[in-house]
Amino acid sequence: MTARTDPARVMVAMSGGVDSSVAAALLLEAGYEVVGVTLRLWGGESDSGCCAVSDVDDARRVADALGIDHHVFNLGDHFESMVVGPYVADHAAGRTPNPCIECNRHVKFGRLMDRAGALGFGLLATGHHARVVERPDGTRRIARAADSAKDQSYVLNMLGQDQLAGLLLPIGDLTKEEVRRRATDLGLRTADKPDSQDVCFITRQHGRGDFLGRRLTFTPGRVVDGSGTEVGSVSAVELVTIGQRRGMALAGGAAPRFAVDVDVAGATVTVGPVGDLMVDTTPVEAFSWADGPMGGTLLVQTSAHGSSDPAVLDGDVVRWSEPHMRVAPGQSVVFYDGDEVLGGSIARQG
């Protein structure tokens, strides 16, 4: 394969939000040749502020204002097969997947990055709040954003050296407030646009249960306590997440109980008191590493905006230094060294 890519040409993924708008503007200021691309991933119903025609319009109009070309790529088939299908299959198996992370893995930093290279772009940029740092030995890692409240390093845990070498995260050094100020100064129409929060193919109006209900036959299940005594019931075991407290027809009055195990095949949810939510170990699988496997004592983060806590990675088991909340199988378990991402994995059934 010949390179024939130009390191001065950047394809910037523009969602139609303020972060990627400012990312494009900063790249232009830095002297890059910039082309904006918006992905069309989901043809169905959406109200989450992702993939909607109005967001494509926002991205296009920002690109127009910046004087850069803008294209729309329809990666809907790939999104369906690599993100939505596995999301449904994970729920069917009682796991709680993170589809945005799989979208990053397979679509944005998979298919789109490949396409950028094929079209002659040496670099891909996004509006994620995170940084790419270069280490003394020349390798690169994702590091936490300047704005810790907005940090998205967790969802970029899967990136390897090839991807990191071709990635720019122009707003990682700015706080969200600074991003909005830059957008306002530049007169960008997205300056005050609210952040998108939700999964693009799940509508706020109808929710996850409605979406999955169209693709799965739900399993009604028993809810039992630690001794096996039936204490409640659920209409869909597939929709129960570890740590969930409501929606299981539990009798009131007693101390609050939480889902601690979800068994779709056995049509059973096990609940327990808050103490049962704490564990000493979390089994993981599907590792990805920025620059080679790591072990020993690391900082480990198990949700997008959670804390990172010390633990020992021992083979495919995370051994927590202090008892830790149970992690739902399917969730990403990300390893840090200080502020830098070493790699990621996915929690599995114990």
């Binding site: 069309r40 025609v53 494509v56 319009d57 729309v72 329809n74 088939d77 094929a118």
Partner: protein
């Protein structure tokens, strides 16, 4: 940068004579054709002159020409107009433009499959006509907007006469009008849709030809313009442009068809010489002389179009949705083209102003882009 505009099936440039004819009606004459004073009468005269020219293009009476805002409105009016007037069901082919498919679906109508060339399956249509009562309209496009494939409307009309003489035949002739003798090809159709910007006219003016005796309720209601069939003040400059474009087509169609057809054939032959390419339309299927539709193995159209644009070649693939993204083509799906191949297809459509330079430029650019994409990304199309 040298460029080649090869997206005439999406929209043609207005011909210079058309622009010339339109300008006074934008800049000088304010009249509303429904008024009584001299300026109004002048505007009325202008659109009636255009009406004569459009009627001549189709082989209709001037009074049968209803001006619309374009092809979509004409198609909507044809389907909804007959459905509302008769209370009967619409039927259409699977490769119709969405402007026909959507109102047919909304009315609970029936969609008839096509053969591998994208022509309506006459056997299936005959079956529907025999099996289903209460059909009021059959809509079959004359030439397809993606492939240029031409239907035999005489054969469709003969089926309708055989089955039930009062079923109206509608044809969307938007893509055929610049290339075919409508007077002959559409003689069996009671309703014919046209638009200006596919035949060297402006955007914003089209027509539905409504032959006398065809039952049609208006969709746009109001001031009763266009003999109560389409209310709303007529777009005088655009209608004048449509008329002039129709006049030019009638005047030079024979020579244009020959010249553009030769260009298309050379373009197509040049592309088919690239390994791993196929004609989407089977050889022998009748089609207009203006469109080359090619599938490239191992290439994604979106990437190809991106590289073509950078080198000044404007083309398209499938159809575009409101966001501008490429959507999988319902036309190719109806023809039985496998989805992976459809995602590697390219539509190059020529027009009146196309020349040898366009073909040469496009051939050079497309060859180089295809080889680049295959070299870089052999997974293309494997999703």
């Amino acid at each position: 940068m040298e460029g080649a505009y090869l997206d005439h099936a999406a929209s043609t440039p207005a011909r210079p004579e058309v622009v010339e004819a339109m300008l006074p009606w934008l800049a000088e004459h304010p009249g509303n054709p429904s008024g009584a004073h001299a300026e109004a009468r002048a505007a009325r005269r202008a659109i009636d002159d255009a009406r004569d020219l459009v009627a001549a293009l189709v082989g209709a009476q001037p009074g049968e020409v209803v001006f619309t805002s374009g092809g979509t409105e004409a198609d909507n009016l044809a389907v909804d107009g007959v459905v509302r007037s008769t209370g009967r069901l619409p039927v259409c082919s699977a490769v119709e433009h969405p402007a026909v498919l959507a109102p047919v679906a909304e009315a609970g109508g029936i969609v008839v499959p096509t053969d591998a060339g994208g022509r309506i399956d006459l056997g299936a249509l005959a079956e529907v006509l025999h099996a289903v009562g209460g059909i009021g309209l059959v809509s079959v496009m004359l030439a397809n907007n993606e492939t240029g494939v031409v239907n035999d409307l005489d054969a469709v009309a003969a089926l309708l006469v055989e089955a039930a003489s009062d079923v109206v035949l509608h044809t969307d002739a938007v893509q055929a009008a610049a290339w075919m003798e409508l007077e002959v090809a559409c003689r069996g159709a009671g309703l014919v849709s046209l638009t200006g910007h596919k035949l060297g006219g402006p955007k914003g003016a089209g027509a539905l030809v409504v032959r006398s005796g065809v039952p049609l309720a208006p969709v746009l209601r109001g001031g009763g313009q266009e003999r109560e069939r389409r209310s709303g003040t007529q777009n005088v400059p655009a209608i004048v442009g449509l008329g002039e474009a129709a006049r030019l087509v009638v005047a030079d169609r024979a020579t244009t068809v020959e010249r553009v057809g030769a260009l298309r054939d050379r373009l197509e032959a040049g592309l088919l010489a690239v390994p791993g390419t196929r004609r989407t339309v089977p050889v022998g299927t009748p089609r207009t002389p203006a469109i080359a539709h090619i599938c490239f193995d191992g290439v994604e159209s979106e990437s190809l179009l991106f590289l073509l644009e950078r080198d000044g070649v404007s083309a398209s693939a499938g159809s575009s949705c409101a966001s501008g993204a490429q959507e999988p083509s319902h036309v190719l799906a109806a023809m039985g083209v496998e989805r992976g191949s459809a995602l590697g297809s390219l539509r190059l459509s020529l027009g009146h102003a196309s020349d040898d330079g366009d073909v040469d430029h496009a051939l050079a650019v497309i060859r180089s882009a295809v080889s680049r994409l295959r070299e870089h990304d052999p997974v293309g199309g494997s999703a």
